[in-house]
Symmetry: C2
Subunit: 191 residues, 2 copies
DNA sequence: TGTACATCAGTGAACGCGCGTTCACTGATGTAC
DNA sequence: TGTACATCAGTGAACGCGCGTTCACTGATGTAC
């Protein structure tokens, strides 16, 4: 039995991985169950042996990709001087590389717009992930008297998410690079 | 003949108005042709006497709502001291009222996410409207040596768009208000 | 002024397609004896 | 060790529904004479 179980778990993991890719590239609606499955070399019908619904898969994919993104953003961040850590995160997020490689990036750009319209389940998962990111980022924000670190972190998150989303939306135009540059400067406090 | 033409133009305008509402509330995919038409008291089939396709309608609705939003954001802005004008715009955009009244607000939150996936036509319209907004906002940004006014304006736009979108996505949770507050502070330069 | 005809906005049903989900079936893996 | 049976991941076709678009038709408005 246990060989069978292992095999099933591996398949399940592969489905989730495929979903993570498609979700980030095409959004919730664009991550079709049939496409997710064919990304693993399987057919649609088998999906329901692993998940109760597409919704359940999407929730898991959001959590997974958000966690992965955090790892990337804060990777080896302690090696940088404390004063510039938040800026480093900002630069990593608002990079052309991140804009052009949606499949391995942040889930927010793919998910935020659709979430308002779909099930409240997704909304809660998203809120939880945003809080998580804010908490971790706040630890690297330099202290000030003006606001709390968490507030600054939330502002940065909105700027990062907004900047990447707009840059992707107009990708291919000059405006796209301009937006990324402007957001990096704005986040650094240059006015 | 001219009475007929006037009537048709009035109907067309009503269709566009209905589309503007639905587009901002539900996004491109959610603004169904049948719903747009029934919002004017007509049935689906008649739509194609006015527009070649849903795409054409959406393009027009994006332009219209973007223009309307600009009017609102910059309304009587000259009455404010020059030094705070950009902040006033920021506050107007990142308000709870704007978050809760999507039907009369900015089209970006409803459109940006979907645009990357759909036709390039929409992308160009969006890019044009973002530039327009940046241009107008830049005029009210206080001059600095650090960056251009346009860059600051683009940073502000990303922050505003990002803040409203995130706040709407998690609407109903405490996080939603927290995000708006944090973004207003961040935009003001409080760190 | 009245009558026959043309135009065209709007109707409502149908078409085609995409997509999530269901379901009868298969075949490989595991268990019982 | 071998044989009969059970389980269940995966198949592939079908179902149901939503949505953009098409199309034959209607009826009110306008034109020609």
């Amino acid at each position: 039995m246990s060989v069978k179980v292992e095999r099933k778990e591996r398949t399940r993991a592969a489905i989730v991985a495929s979903a993570c890719d498609l979700l980030r590239q095409r959004g919730i609606g664009g991550a079709r169950v049939a496409d997710v499955m064919s990304g693993v070399g399987l057919t649609v019908g088998g999906f329901y042996a692993h998940f109760a619904s597409k919704e359940a898969l999407v929730d898991e994919a959001i959590r997974r990709t958000a966690t992965a993104m955090r790892s990337r953003l804060f990777d080896r961040i302690e090696e940088k001087p404390a004063a510039v850590r938040a800026e480093v995160v900002l630069k990593r997020y608002l990079s052309a590389a991140h804009r052009d490689d949606a499949a391995n990036g942040c889930p927010m750009p793919a998910v935020v717009g659709e979430v308002s319209t779909t099930t409240p389940e997704h909304r809660d998962v998203l809120a939880e992930q945003i809080s998580e990111l804010a908490e971790e980022l706040a630890r690297h924000v330099v202290k000030s008297e003006a606001t709390t670190r968490r507030a600054t972190a939330l502002g940065m998150i909105a700027l990062m998410y907004g900047g990447i989303s707009l840059a992707r939306a107009v990708k291919g135009t000059d405006l796209s690079d301009e937006i990324l540059r402007a957001c990096r400067a704005f986040g650094r406090g240059e006015r």
